[in-house]
Symmetry: C2
Subunit: 291 residues, 2 copies
């Protein structure tokens, strides 16, 4: 028996088309949704990724403004740019791309992204709102996991779901989204002890730890659905997840591939969030417009 | 074998003395920490609770301003009062007491409590900051659980901790605090399926569901530490927790009583948060004062 591969490509395409249609609808009202991406690094793979967002936006009829501040940008400059973009009515969504220059902390800066434009859920206020069930954008990667599970009709209510990783961009927001979907949610991490204690009885295992080969076949039960959020670049330049695909495919029922799994859905969701943000901003700015 | 009862009374007293000493230190600088409690109900037990906070504050040298807006207060009035208190330099901490008048929602209102005065961690921004490890006040009840566990030297790192209840005031913030302490954290709730699936293997079980008798001896293993956050008022007026004390005491290693457990520590922590808020506000307002 070999696990079914849960490709994210078709879903990514469907979401992108949905975003494109919503962008066309807004265009008919004279609005062009625009995503601003703030970059402050000369890291090649970051620039490659940002260009891939730009291309995806373009093909979905969404504007993309790359604000490249260079690898020497100060925290003050970054904060001021994020404030300006937050107040700029021509910008619908804002992403602050990591890595940042040495010594510049993400935590303080993301507080300058207006929550209604925070399409990648980076501002702590967005996370807090998510926790209390108020409108906010979840980090696109966390939401991508839920969308993939839904796409393949994998039930969550009453299920035992284990999340490996406790980051503010994936593990924590994802656990909130899973709770909202009535799962029992366990969060494990590098210091929580043997993984198999939790993963062997799990219906769904989500790995978001950033460690190549962290989860292997011995960790999971047959019947388990494994979602691999890891994106690790090997010395030869190839991309692998956190799952030891060879051994897990022999045991688990289903597995998302890397690349072509969660990551492919993430960018599409950023676009969908951007058009949703543009629509909401138009609604709140124009009195009497459709609700 | 009968479980050890983990009383919160001594710890509550210790924390209250710590708050009192800090209040004295601030008084020496001409400052009086003050807690504002906003009430909008004629519910008798709420008023009883608010008076108990007032008494506790008084005996710790902390001012308490009860702002009673009556059971007919509108959302607009409540919002405006919270904004005024947030801007009032003579107020160090703010609590919005529930229940609120029918039709008035807590979720929107708590956003008007300035995060630096949000001593019961009610503003979603406080929860979001907690999630990303930035300075913020945790809800006092959630923190009380951690303080009791620490007080009785119950280790958390690498332990299997199960939290029953996913509320924004206890379950969710507590799970964040437990993750910060390196536990593996599982959150269960009314729709997550059979509790014993998770609780039987847990080292620590925290029950915060608000349902009398929810956790019984059949749910826990010998050796388990059980923390009861429930406060349910029986028809005869007596207070009980969520734990069926009789059966759990026969199995578990330790259990917090209700009353006299978590609840007694919570009020003391509100006072400690209030003096901490006052100190921080003095530090940021007076240039050149001690850091």
């Amino acid at each position: 028996m070999s696990a079914v591969l849960l490709s994210g490509k078709q879903l990514a395409q469907t979401i992108r088309e949905k975003a494109h249609q919503a962008a066309r609808d807004l265009e008919a009202d004279g609005l062009r949704p625009t995503l601003a991406v703030v970059v402050a690094t000369d890291d090649g793979s970051t620039h490659w990724y940002v260009r891939s967002i730009e291309r995806a936006a373009g093909s979905a009829g969404i504007g993309c403004r790359i604000v490249d501040l260079g690898p020497d940008a100060t925290e003050q400059v970054l904060a001021s740019v994020l404030q300006d973009l937050s107040g700029d009515p021509s910008v619908s969504g804002i992403i602050l791309q990591t890595p940042l220059p040495p010594g510049v902390g993400t935590d303080e800066l993301v507080g300058h992204i207006a929550p209604e434009k925070d399409v990648d859920g980076a501002n702590p206020l967005s996370l807090g709102r998510l926790a209390v069930g108020r409108p906010s954008f979840a980090p696109a990667t966390a939401r991508a996991v839920i969308e993939i599970l839904d796409h393949f009709d994998i039930p969550l209510a009453g299920r035992n779901v284990v999340v490996i990783g406790r980051s503010a961009v994936v593990g924590k927001p994802l656990s909130l989204l899973l709770l909202e979907r009535d799962a029992a949610v366990t969060v494990c991490h590098s210091r929580s002890g043997p993984l198999e204690k939790y993963t062997r009885t799990a219906d769904v295992v989500v790995v978001a730890a950033g460690r190549t080969g962290l989860l292997n076949g011995g960790h999971v039960s047959s019947g388990a659905v494994v979602i691999d959020v890891g994106t690790n670049v090997l010395p030869d330049g190839s991309l692998v997840g956190d799952v030891d695909e060879g051994s897990v495919r022999g045991i688990a029922a289903a597995l998302t591939p890397v690349p072509g799994g969660v990551g492919s859905v993430t960018t599409s969701l950023l676009l969908l969030h951007t058009v949703a943000a543009a629509r909401e901003q138009a609604r709140t700015l124009v009195p009497g417009s459709a609700g």
